[in-house]
């Protein structure tokens, strides 16, 4: 074992259970992040196209950005929490070696958020200015994503760690890693695809109220989605090719589970392409969500395979925290129920809500 890897702390529950929790929340984080970044990219694209429908669609899409950003951060928290519990001994050194960049994530995200807010508050502004701010936001997020990719690959790239003996100010990145760029591209293209899908779904939602805009958005979104997914298959193959041979081998027959997951992913990608061409938007979305879960599983296997020899589960101390686990599960159930109720309130048509609780004339007066 590499002497630079710290001693792992005691696990509070079986490894597989926490891994399961990570595999529940991380795909959701990816989906939120993809929606955020992809939607912003689509908005930018629409602004460049500048047609009448494009400009009508753009604000509808950008209105979603603040909540998407809140969800992305929130789900990221959960993912990082479980990931730090599972592989903290690799995560902390990797983060420290790139400390300046890692910490820079926070101000970069705050700047991006300020940008979205600026757009939201002062919507009717000269167009070039709006486009400029939006470009800035997208660039900030791309930078943040790049930092994360560096961190996640640095965790696995132990030979790089010895560069700490030359520089200890947190200025290292993992640029020489062969998997870095394909991996980054893979994630960013996924974001673009999801942006297309969100556009199509928005179109679907708009169809009732504004058929022309709705149909336009759906068509545009699906077209983008299909093309980008085609490109993604190519990038995915490059990524696979750049992985160390032993790991690639596992997915190509060496490990049953990894091979099955890879086959599923390829099958899903083809199914998604077929759906996109047939305009089956909702089915497309369902398949894509499944795809992200499958891919996250595959990613977790790659991580494991990369750390063979550095981490033996049997060596990791374990002391079950049954009470705390139960508390979390109960909180999760109560939380999900509450969120379900809240969303029902939000979606309920105003008329239905009024019927249940007769509003007084006064209440109308107050709001008018």
């Amino acid at each position: 074992m590499n002497p630079l890897v710290p001693q792992p702390d005691t696990l509070p529950a079986a490894w597989t259970l926490i891994q399961g929790l990570l595999l529940l929340v991380f795909p959701l984080h990816l989906l939120a992040m993809n929606s955020l970044l992809g939607t912003a990219a689509v908005v930018l694209w629409l602004r460049r196209r500048g047609g009448q429908l494009d400009l009508a669609l753009a604000p509808r899409l950008s209105a979603m950005l603040p909540v998407l950003m809140a969800l992305t951060v929130n789900l990221g928290v959960a993912s990082l929490l479980f990931s730090q519990t599972l592989h903290g001994q690799f995560f902390y050194p990797a983060a420290i070696l790139m400390g300046r960049f890692w910490l820079a994530v926070i101000p970069l995200l705050i700047m991006a958020y300020a940008g979205i807010y600026l757009l939201k508050r002062r919507a009717p502004r000269p167009r070039p200015r709006v486009t400029l701010v939006m470009t800035g936001i997208v660039l900030l997020w791309l930078t943040v994503a790049f930092i994360f990719t560096n961190n996640q690959t640095m965790m696995l790239n132990l030979p790089r760690w010895v560069d700490y003996f030359k520089t200890d100010g947190g200025t290292l990145l993992n640029l020489a890693d062969a998997t870095l760029w394909p991996r980054y591209l893979h994630f960013m293209i996924a974001a673009l695809a999801v942006g297309g899908l969100i556009t199509a779904l928005t179109g679907r939602y708009l169809t009732e109220r504004d058929p022309r805009l709705g149909a336009y958005a759906e068509r545009l979104g699906l077209r983008l989605f299909g093309r980008v997914t085609l490109l993604q298959i190519g990038v995915g193959m490059v990524f696979l090719w750049r992985l160390p041979q032993s790991i690639r081998w596992q997915m190509l027959g060496g490990s049953m589970a990894a091979t099955v997951l890879l086959m599923m992913a390829v099958g899903l990608a083809l199914a998604i392409l077929a759906c996109a061409s047939q305009r089956l938007t909702i089915l497309c979305a369902g398949l894509l969500v499944t795809q992200v879960f499958v891919m996250s599983g595959l990613r977790e296997m790659v991580r494991h395979a990369s750390l063979t020899g550095q981490m033996r589960l049997s060596d990791m101390p374990l002391a079950w925290q049954n009470g705390a686990l139960l508390f979390f599960v109960l909180m999760l159930l109560a939380g999900v129920a509450t969120i379900g109720w809240l969303i029902r309130q939000a979606l309920q048509p105003a008329a239905a809500a009024e019927e249940q609780e007769q509003p007084s004339k006064q209440s109308r007066a107050l709001r008018s």
Binding site: L71, V73, P93, A324, T338, E357
Partner: protein
């Protein structure tokens, strides 16, 4: 300890933590109290059919969401990022102990996000009672998130007496309840200050005056609650920590003095606001907010400083070293992340840098060792913990101790050599 140290000798990790943490604490206490204000004021507006107030609430809700929803979350994540970088060993220990508690906290954050977003977007759509219920869901979730994080923060300072402890004992540790009460009061105070600041920017001066009076009275009440709660908190601290707070630590004494001035200024300002609300313009309201920030900052700084020399009280020192480590064994051979060359620098980095900078603003060791020669310093280092209990003992061999002393004295600015000496030694033509 087997983690690398992110070495920024001129700034110091502690400074970074302090900046981010104080910002976050300021925003998050606003997030806890602000929801309550929204619900209270909205109820008030409905009862009195106060249209002007209702308009204000809608605008204020938007401001509230902007400040707390993402900024609160991001600065919170910021604390976590920075402690992972600066205190990896302590962070890892905490995460492994409390991962499910933190996960429950995460669920509460998610509920908060959804609740406040729905609240903001259903002002016109839902009947009053339903809308207020949504506001109450937000309030409950945000106060519970304070409840949960409070257990973890207080654990760092006062892990419960009996060891080894269950998670429940660690969570409901000796300062849990006083700290919860204190923080709840501070949340009420800070959010009140935020509402008055927003009111000061409101054009309807009549409404602004009324709002200022209400919020100032409630903030005053919260402040009055915070004082006994703070006293109770202090009394619940273990004796060595209490003695640090009461004078054994010069940094804490300075910080507490600042805190006392802030309290005094707030009492005067709030009384003025209750008495003559029309007097409270933008500058005063903003100054009030800034004073709140100072008060919060001095409380958090004291709490952090009072934990010295530990990051986890009683088990891990601030520099990440475990308490049960033997002090006289050679240190560096045991640290895989240390460089083989420059022993003095590495010893400073792995043992002192957690609290000292080199030439920085925060606790500059060059300034602190001024006037000590090598032998004095080496002797001092062997007595660090005995002389100054807020410092951990030096860990390492005698040789390493001398190497550290040599390194630190070598950093002292050289006294300028008087020109007359130069003239004397040179041979004049």
């Amino acid at each position: 300890m087997n983690y690398p140290v992110w070495y920024l000798p001129a700034i110091g990790g502690g400074t970074l933590i302090a900046i981010i943490a104080v910002t976050h604490v300021f925003i998050s206490h606003f997030a806890v109290g602000g929801g309550l204000w929204l619900v209270l004021l909205e109820t008030h507006a409905w009862r009195r059919q106060d249209k002007a107030l209702y308009q204000f609430i809608r605008r204020f809700a938007r401001f509230f969401v902007f400040v707390t929803l993402v900024l609160g979350a991001l600065t919170g994540v910021g604390i976590w990022f920075v402690i992972s970088l600066v205190q990896p060993a302590g962070t890892s220990a905490l995460i492994h102990r409390f991962v499910f508690i933190w996960a429950a906290e995460w669920v509460l954050f998610l509920v908060e996000i959804v609740a406040i977003t729905v609240y903001l977007h259903t002002f016109d759509r839902l009947p009053a009672r339903r809308h207020l219920t949504i506001g109450r869901v937000y309030c409950t979730a945000s106060w519970l998130s304070l409840f949960v994080i409070n257990g973890i923060i207080t654990f760092m300072l006062t892990p419960s007496a009996a060891a080894p402890t269950s998670i429940a004992d660690s969570f409901f540790n000796p300062t849990f309840w006083p700290s919860l009460l204190l923080r709840t009061c501070l949340a009420g105070l800070l959010s009140g200050l935020f509402v008055s600041a927003a009111a000061a920017f409101w054009t309807d001066r009549d409404l602004a005056g009324r709002l200022t009076r209400i919020t100032a009275s409630w903030s005053l009440l919260a402040l009055c609650g915070a004082l006994p709660a703070g006293y109770w908190y202090l009394r619940s601290l273990p004796a060595p920590v209490q003695s640090l707070v009461e004078g054994a630590s010069p940094t804490i004494v300075r910080t507490l003095a600042v805190g006392r001035w802030a309290v005094l200024a707030l009492v005067i300002g709030l009384l003025l606001a209750v008495w003559r609300p029309a007097r409270i313009g933008k500058p005063v309201a903003l100054a009030g907010l800034a004073t709140g920030l100072v008060l919060m900052g001095s409380f958090e700084w004291t709490r952090e400083a009072a934990r010295r020399p530990f990051v986890l009280h009683g088990s891990m020192f601030s520099n990440g070293l475990r308490v049960d480590r033997a002090t006289a064994d050679p240190f560096l051979p045991d640290i895989p992340w240390s460089r083989a060359t420059s022993a003095g620098r590495e010893l400073f980095k792995f043992q002192c840098y957690a609290c000292h900078t080199l030439g920085g603003v925060n606790n500059d060791i060059i300034k602190r060792t001024r006037g000590m020669d090598e032998a004095t310093l080496a002797a001092y280092i062997s007595q660090l913990h005995a002389i100054r209990p807020f410092m951990p003992p030096f860990m390492g061999s005698d040789e390493e101790r001398r190497a550290l002393a040599t390194y630190l004295t070598g950093l002292q600015p050289r006294p300028a050599i008087p020109a007359s000496n130069l003239l004397q030694s040179g041979s004049l033509p």
